[in-house]
Amino acid sequence: MDNTFVVNIIHRPEMVPEYAEKVTGQGKAEDIGRKALLTESLDIFKFQQETAHKNGLKVTIQMTYASLFNDEACELAKKDHEQYGDEIALSLLGLPCKEFREKYKTKDFCIWMFSMEDKKSIVDDVFGKFYDRFGFYPESTGSYYMDAELTNYIKEKYPMVKCAVATCWEEGPKAYHTCNNSWYTLFDGGPWNPWIPSKQNTHAPAANEAEDSGIVAIPHLSRDLLACYDGNGSNFGTHPQNVLRGMIYDTKTWEYPYLYNLIDQYRYLAKFNNGYSYNMMFVGPGWLNKMGRWEQPYELLKKSYEDGMAYYGELKKKGELIDMTMAEFADFYRKNKSYEEPECALWKDILYGSDKQLFWYADPYMRACVNMDQGGAVVDLRPYASKIKWEVGIGTKHVQDASYPFLIQEKYRAGYFTHYAGEGTVRSAKVSYNGEEVDLCLCRTHATFSQEGKKRILTLDPVEIEFYDLTVKIGTRIIFEEGSSNIQHERTILEMSNPDAEVEINEYIVACYGTTEYPEDMTGITLGVIGDNGEKTINYEYKCRDEKLEGASDAFAVIPAIDTKVSLSTDSKEGLGYIEEGYAFSPMFKLGYKKHISDKEVIKTWLNLEKAN
């Protein structure tokens, strides 16, 4: 495909905008039926629609449950559908209204948190109400998160649904913390760009038709793949008012180049995805509040929305953007993408002024983040291969926590750096010589991306390791092969100041599992190392034990709590495989492989992910 930048713009007429009641209603007793609130909400919707259309952009109108009770909102949607080709869709956000509260006797408003019974009944209710209003069922829906069970139910009952807003990238513990631990949108670990969710777990893309949930999922906003990873996601996305929330604008000129930089970096991702790139903008009406929002007066909120739309409009006029409705996009995606084609993003810092570079990779088997500033270490890893069944909502084990579990998460469970004792989660390598040891995590570098057939290859700029009396230049290639469910690290000794020297390379992964910063119970995990010389295992009991095996081909861990087997394997016969159990103060496990290598030698290791039951 030639450079194709697709944009989905979504508006929802919300009769009680999130925030508006709490924020603008401060000092008043709660009353979600307030007339002023309804009028303002519709005015915001009209403004958003007009702004998009003025810039020649098509919109997906996601009707909310509340808006289905409002004649004017429904008429506006019909009119804009006829005049501009807008899609009339149905959101599962915006449930709160008098009718909903009376019927369901709850203030809950996040669809994925209801009991399965309520989910079904709410879906039937809103879909039915939508049909009554419009005479057809919607082709698109969504929420901040759509759990697999919810999507499966919708697809079964309303098979015409083909597209859904299904997650908000890295909106998990960080968003929760930013909101003074009161905003329960816990769903880290999903793709950042559209994907086809599996029937088993929304985050994990389907590997084939049998796993296909039947919808194309789009993320709620296109988020900064570096800033959101270590900060409040809601400050760094293609949502003009989120950028204002982050205070990323000039207070004197009201300019925010970051918003355009972010859009442009997303466009740049076409380079890694066969010419395709994507953006989603979905500003809820609460962000265009007449009372202003935090430090920003209404005029600035309004200007930022107009500017955002104008930028997209300008790109469209130049032929550099295609605006689609969600349903159109689902058709486009199905036509142009295959199940196993990965989503790739070599992303650089465009906000803080560092030279950091990350590579994000997602396919049906994993989501991984490689950090070039840490020598190409894998700093985040989600084992999609296991397609974990993870029901959420009232009545399940996970009422709120919908995150896909990680094996590695450097921000939550430490990466290379720990305080005083223990180890943190990371997949890296150490190089040793004469009693000195250097971790490649401390070798800052950059990568270039290339594609050879089904392989996506990151070639890192070579790094130099200086020992007391030896300098070693090491090259690293990291290879992701479609459908392989593994990550290959290939290290080459490119040069040594003493060509006859031998260094030891120690390829390793330190991992655990979890969805938050806090440790989970590691009991039940089995560690093993296996090769022609036999097999050794450890059942995890926090006893700080280790085992080694000469000539090992695999070191592995089976983690029943997340149905996952992770292993580190090699094609070399002359090394030493090892496993290390952690202890209470370092609740991790380590899998590794050590080998002596000399000048020009290459060592290959694979990190493999499998489903284990």
Binding site: V23, Q26, I248, T251, Y260, N261, D264, P297, I350, Y352
Partner: protein, 70 residues
Amino acid sequence: MAQSGKGKLNYRCPLCFMRDLDIDMFYDKDKKEYYCLRCQYTGDEADVLAKNEIIRIKYGRMYDRITDFD
């Protein structure tokens, strides 16, 4: 002393913002100052605005229009 309310704009605590916390401040009209419920920050509007500028030091490229993503 009367209860506090919200000010003209809904200022967040600048010191909490620096540690990635969005905490709305309340306004004490007797002391004519905003204060944070979570940390120990208090300040008048001018001080809040000045601190909000300082917050931006973390965004080293906030004013740059970037066109090269290599």
